[in-house]
């Protein structure tokens, strides 16, 4: 059981998805008994690399060796066979099955000859033992749906150990966890390392990386740009390797106290148990930040405000007009838009053209008599969107699915902003776009705010909130945990607030 695995080495890995080159000639070596961290921006190729090592994706070129022997990882079970296990970003437990069943899925021990029976006693015993060994105190007969994300991750670890896997890869495990849960996860990772396991880890939180890693590799745009051992850690150097240039997160405009009547007022918004007692105002020209962990209820609150999701109580007033019961179409007409976080699922329709997407939020306005669309106006809106937001594309008839992530995001922006809203709620506006596009998007947000639009930015990136926002509201457990303005909007205060550390 406690045999130390050999050196897992990937050499010259290439991977393309359609027209997108995700990994280019990437080499990575996971030495036995170390925690090796992959850093990189969103879309740098970290998850893809781990998925290749775990047999989920096949590389287009390159090879993978374990202790010198070439591996053929054509599917995840082949990877298990060589002792490699990936704990996915979203733990993939079957919610309706018990914890024990989940752990033994695909390898349920049986007893007796045909017809054999499942050996529940062994299953429960072994499952309970391996969870206790990790210090996780849950009843293995309980349904997996009752576990928190942190507990599910630990169950995944136990699954790996049960399968005899000694190389465990964690794909960004900490992003949905609270600070305390991260601590627990790290203590277990240290224990596993102490037992001789090799651990892969993905994160882009600098503190975590320097706390747990023995070695860090940095990926940028599908290529390894730097690799440093424990002694060589230097934040500035890692950030430079990640983004390709010096980045100084600096205020670019004076944080101001917006005056005047609120254009959007939310009072007593609730939908138990997701969120409750939510009150806030936004004023014209103000950029309000909404910070909070994934699962804190911030997206749900925004969707309820915009009529996209049910609410059980509360009122929403936009420019003096009560829109609590209006349809989404009417709310957009009244001047409130929600720019969703998940671009491909909610933001754009990938097979449709830039023209169709850019005008999708205002079809009603483009109809002439008999419901015929005004083609001239459509073209004008699409052309204007491409010009204003500098969308790089062949023309307005190109399908949005053929554009890069950053350019898709600009089309999403154009789609909503061309409806001339009074208030825009932007959910993670820079997720999955590269640094250059990020900068452009910040500039656009500031420009729109300068023109008098009220903007709410939902973000889990501290820097983003600090760079952009005049005021920050922290959401924790579905409630407003803190409101920070002026000089209080600092990394320390905002970070503490959304981790639920700081009370009112």
């Amino acid at each position: 059981m406690s045999r130390t695995p050999g050196l897992l080495a990937a050499t010259g890995i290439d991977k393309r998805f359609g027209a997108n080159s995700v990994l280019r000639n990437v080499s990575l070596a996971l030495a036995p008994g170390e925690v090796h961290t992959l850093m990189g921006e969103n879309g740098a190729g970290k998850s893809t690399l781990f998925r290749i090592l775990a047999g989920i994706h096949q590389p287009d070129a390159g090879q993978i060796n374990l202790d010198g022997a070439t591996l053929d990882l054509r599917n995840p079970s082949a990877a298990y066979g060589h002792g490699i296990y990936l704990v996915p970003q979203e733990p993939a437990l079957l919610k309706e099955l018990s914890v024990a069943e989940n752990m033994f899925l695909g390898m349920l021990p049986t007893r007796g000859r045909f017809p054999s029976r499942i050996d529940w006693k062994t299953i429960r015993g072994q499952a309970q033992d391996s969870l206790s060994a990790l210090g996780l105190d849950v009843d293995v007969r309980d349904d997996a749906k009752h576990l928190s994300i942190a507990q599910q991750q630990l169950v995944e670890c136990a699954k790996a150990l049960l399968r005899g896997c000694r190389i465990i890869l964690f794909d960004e495990p900490t992003s949905p966890l609270t600070g305390r849960e991260v601590g627990i996860l790290f203590s277990i990772m240290r224990r596993l390392r102490g037992q001789g396991c090799t651990l892969g880890f993905i994160s882009h939180r600098m503190d975590e990386v320097s706390e747990i890693s023995d070695r860090v590799s940095v990926l940028r745009d599908g290529a390894v740009t730097d690799e440093v051992g424990r002694d060589g850690f230097d934040r500035a150097r890692l950030v430079r390797a990640m983004v390709g240039r010096e980045v100084i997160f600096d205020r670019r405009r004076v944080r101001r106290e917006a005056e005047g009547e609120p254009v959007l007022s939310v009072r007593g918004l609730a939908h138990a148990p997701v969120f409750s007692g939510v009150d806030f105002d936004v004023r014209p020209g103000e950029i309000l930040g909404f910070s909070g962990l994934i699962g804190s209820g911030r997206t749900e609150i925004a969707e309820a405000v915009c009529g996209l999701r049910a609410k059980s109580a509360g009122s929403v007033t936009l420019a003096g007009q009560d829109i609590s019961a209006s349809s989404i179409g009417d709310i957009i007409e009244a001047g409130l838009v929600y720019v969703p976080e998940d671009r491909a699922r909610h933001g754009v329709i990938l097979p449709m053209s830039i023209r169709d997407n850019a005008t999708a939020g205002q079809i009603g306005r483009l109809q002439r008599k008999g419901g015929i669309l005004n083609r001239g106006r459509e073209v004008a809106i699409a052309t204007d969107t491409m010009r204003r937001y500098q969308v790089r594309a062949r023309g307005i008839d190109q399908p949005v699915g053929q554009l890069s992530g950053g350019n898709q995001q600009k089309v999403v922006f154009g789609k909503w902003m061309s409806t001339n809203p009074k208030v825009a709620i932007l959910d993670e506006p820079t997720r999955g776009v590269d640094v250059g596009a990020k900068d452009e998007i910040y500039r656009l947000i500031e420009e729109l705010s300068a023109q008098g639009m009220a903007i709410v930015v939902i973000s889990s990136e501290l820097e983003e909130l600090i760079v952009l926002c005049d005021r920050v509201i922290a959401i924790y457990g579905g409630k407003i945990a803190a409101e920070l303005k002026g000089a209080d909007v600092t990394a320390a205060r905002v970070g503490a607030a959304f981790l639920g550390v700081e009370a009112h």
Partner: protein, 338 residues
């Protein structure tokens, strides 16, 4: 015109198939080619399928399905016949009421699907049984026949003696549906829903209302097809519409409208209507039984969906097709190794 009927590689392939099929029957089947006017007259035999296919296209574009079109046709025709025969209603008024009833039945489908959240497949399968039972009950043992000469013109009449009335109506409707889908706000919403229902919702589209109207349109077109059949036979039967479903769905799917929604247009459907119509008539004239034709159409439906799925990246990519078809290749390596 190019904007109304955007021409895709799929459509061009359909044109080729139509030409090949038509010439094939002309050469191989004596009695198939009966002069230009005779050829036009053949369309009367299959255009009722085309009317259903137009309405069904709208539903399938949303990613839904309507299996109740056959029973709506039958029920609408029975309603019309009873109104004329038993209540002495003016023929054209009765036609109007029957088409309206078709719309109502489709609307009911839409309500069941959007409000009770029943899968379109199950919802319309169920209402298909309900509607056809009602039609049988209403029609009784001896269904009415004989609706007068003027009404018969709808199904069998010809303008200037050689352009079938049905064909004129079909062409007008096909252009109308193409305008609806490509140029109106409703059509744009329809396509958005078909491609990505969530994104349409986030963009402020009232998804349920668009869907309800789609099923309503499908009901209207099915009812109209039933009326045309009644006119053609100068009689009604409760089960008259039963043959419509398979061929109409095949026309839509072969026409290039994705069974998953969003993709496709009316030009393709129109071509597929002609292809399957020529096939049905040609097979009949060549002396094959209806069973053979039905089997063939079932196979065409299956293969057009399968081919679409093979092209699943929503575009032509022969490399991927060859890779997917590689299981058909003989096991060369095995022999060379031994």
């Amino acid at each position: 015109m190019r904007y109304l009927f955007p021409s895709q590689p799929w459509d061009r392939a359909l044109v080729a198939i139509l030409v090949a099929l038509f010439s094939g029957f002309c050469i191989l089947t004596p009695g198939f080619y009966n002069g230009f006017h005779g050829t036009l007259a053949i369309t009367e035999e299959f255009l009722p399928f085309g009317f259903v296919a137009l309405g069904l296209s709208v539903v399938i574009l949303t990613g839904g399905i309507d299996l109740s079109v056959g029973s709506i046709s039958g029920l609408a025709a029975v309603i019309m016949a009873i109104l004329i025969k038993s209540y002495g209603l003016n023929t054209w008024l009765a036609v109007l009421v029957a088409v309206g009833a078709g719309g109502g039945l489709g609307w009911l489908n839409g309500q069941i699907i959007t409000r009770l959240r029943v899968e379109p497949l199950i919802a319309t399968l169920s209402t298909n049984f309900i509607y056809s039972s009602i039609a049988i009950a209403l029609a009784g043992a001896s269904p009415p026949y004989g609706f007068g000469h003027a009404f018969g013109e709808l199904g069998t009449g010809a303008i200037a003696g050689w352009v079938p009335v049905q064909l004129v109506i079909f062409i007008v409707l096909a252009i109308g549906f193409s305008v609806l889908i490509t140029r109106t706000g409703y059509g744009r919403r329809l396509v958005m829903i078909g491609y990505n229902r969530d994104a349409a919702h986030y963009a402020g589209v009232s998804v349920a209302s668009v869907e309800r109207r789609a099923y309503c349109i499908s009901g209207v077109m099915a009812a109209f097809a039933g009326i045309v059949l009644a006119s053609y036979y100068d009689a009604v039967r409760a089960d008259m519409g039963d043959i419509l479903l398979l061929t109409s769905i095949t026309m839509v799917v072969l026409g290039g409208i994705s069974i998953f929604g969003g993709e496709g247009g009316i030009l393709g459907v129109t071509l597929a209507v002609m292809i399957l119509g020529v096939l049905r008539q040609g097979m009949l004239i060549a002396g094959f039984s209806d069973m053979v034709t039905t089997m063939l159409i079932g196979a065409i439906l299956l293969s057009s969906i399968a081919i679409k799925n093979l092209f699943s990246s929503r575009g032509f990519d022969f490399g991927s097709i060859i890779r997917r078809l590689s299981f058909l290749r003989p096991p060369e390596r095995m022999t060379s190794r031994s």
